[in-house]
Symmetry: C2
Subunit: 215 residues, 2 copies
C-alpha cells in the first residue's frame, strides 16, 4: 500500500534541492524546517510535510543534516540515474539546456544530437557530433536512449515524436510551441517559453490595474 505523492510536492523538491546544494557548497551542515521555509517562501509545516512523504530525514531538536537531505532528495528524484538522452534540433534552446543545467548531474547523459540543417550537421555540441535527422531511427535502435529533447519547429514535432515513440523513446522534454501530451507509457515535461511570457504579462497587467485602482 503506497501513499500517493502529489505533483505539488514533486514540483517543490527541485527548489529545495537547489538551495540545499548552495548551503552545502557554503559549508553549512544543518538547517531547520523553519530556516529552510523562510528561504523558500513556504511554511515550515509544508517543508516537513513534503519531506515526510518520503520518510523522516530530520531529528528533533537538531533539524536536517544538509548533506544527508541533499542526497536523499537526489535519490527521490532519481538524479543518480544516467538515462541516455538525445537532442533533436541543435538550435539555441537545446544548446542552452545542455550547457547551462548541470545536465549530467540531473540524471541524464547526452549521447546524440540530430538536425536537418546541412550547415549544422558534422559540427559538435559538448563533444557530440551533430548527425543527420534521417539517421535517428537507426541510432535509437543501436543505442536505446530513454529521453529525447525536442527543440524543433512546431510543424515537424508530431511526426518526429510519433517516430521516436515507435522506436521506444519513453520520455520527452519539449521546448517546441506544440504540446506533447502525456500518454500511456510516455512521460513528458513541456517547457513553453511563450506561456511564461504570457503569465508574466498578466502579472504586470494585473499589478498595474491594482495600483491604478482607487477605493
Amino acid at each position: 500500500m503506497e501513499k500517493q505523492v502529489s505533483q505539488s510536492v514533486i514540483n517543490r523538491l527541485p527548489r529545495y534541492y537547489r538551495y540545499l546544494g548552495e548551503l552545502l557548497s557554503n559549508g553549512i551542515e544543518r538547517i531547520s524546517s523553519k530556516d529552510l521555509s523562510e528561504k523558500m517562501n513556504v511554511t515550515a509545516s509544508q517543508i516537513r510535510q513534503d519531506l515526510n512523504c518520503f520518510g523522516g530525514f530530520g531529528q528533533q531538536g537538531y533539524g536536517y543534516n544538509v548533506e544527508y537531505l541533499y542526497n536523499e532528495i537526489a535519490a527521490i528524484l532519481g538524479l543518480n540515474s544516467h538515462y541516455k538522452a538525445i537532442l533533436i534540433g541543435a538550435g539555441n534552446m537545446g544548446q542552452a539546456l545542455i550547457q547551462n543545467t548541470n545536465f549530467e548531474k540531473r540524471g541524464f547523459s547526452l549521447i546524440g544530437v540530430f538536425d536537418n540543417d546541412p550547415q549544422k550537421i558534422g559540427k559538435e555540441i559538448k563533444g557530440i557530433k551533430i548527425s543527420d535527422i534521417t539517421d535517428v531511427e537507426q541510432f535509437i535502435k543501436d543505442n536505446h536512449p530513454t529521453m529525447a529533447i525536442i527543440s524543433t519547429p512546431r510543424t515537424v514535432v508530431n511526426q518526429i515524436v510519433h517516430k521516436l515513440k515507435d522506436c521506444g523513446v519513453r520520455a520527452f522534454l519539449n521546448f517546441s510551441y506544440a504540446e506533447i501530451a502525456n500518454s500511456e507509457n510516455v512521460v513528458v515535461e513541456n517547457i513553453h517559453l511563450s506561456d511564461s511570457l504570457m503569465r508574466l504579462c498578466y502579472k504586470i497587467s494585473a499589478k498595474n490595474a491594482e495600483t491604478t485602482k482607487k477605493d
Copy 2:
C-alpha cells in the same frame, strides 16, 4: 468587490490561448467546452469554470466563438500591451526566447540587449545592437523598460537584479540558476530548466518503479 482569480487558472489560460490560435488558423469558428477539454486534457467543467472567472464568453447550445474567445483571453492576459523589455546576457537562452516565442505578440518589445563579453558587444540580435552591461543604468533612465530578461551566470544575478530594481524595472523573466523572489512592487517569472530536468527524471524513475513492481 473583486473575486480573486487563482494562479492555477492563470497558468492554464496560455495553453487555451495557444490552442485557440491553432483552431483559428485552421479556420474553425466554434468550439464547445467539451471538445476543448478533450484537447486540453482537462474536464469540460474546468474549462467553463476557468472562463467564467472573467465573464460569460459562451452561449448555450452553441459553445464558444473561437475568434472572440481568443481575443478575450488575449485581453485578460494583457497581450495587447507593449511593455518594453531588455535582455541581460546575450547567450543561447536569451536568443532562443527572443527568436522563438512570438515575443512581440506576447505583450513585449525588445529595446535593448546587454552583455559583458567584448566579443559580443556591438553585434546584433533581432536588429538590436548588443551594448556593454556597464551602460545599462543610463539606458534604463533614458528608456524606462518595464521588464528585464535575466540570462546571466548565477554569480552576478543578485547584483544585477538589485541594480535594475533600483532603476525602476518592475518585472523579471529569470532563466538563471539563481531564484529571484517575488517581492513588493516586483513580479517575477522563473524558468528553471534544471528543475524541469529533475521533474522529468522523477517521472521516469517513478514510472520504472511502477512497472517493475509486481503485486
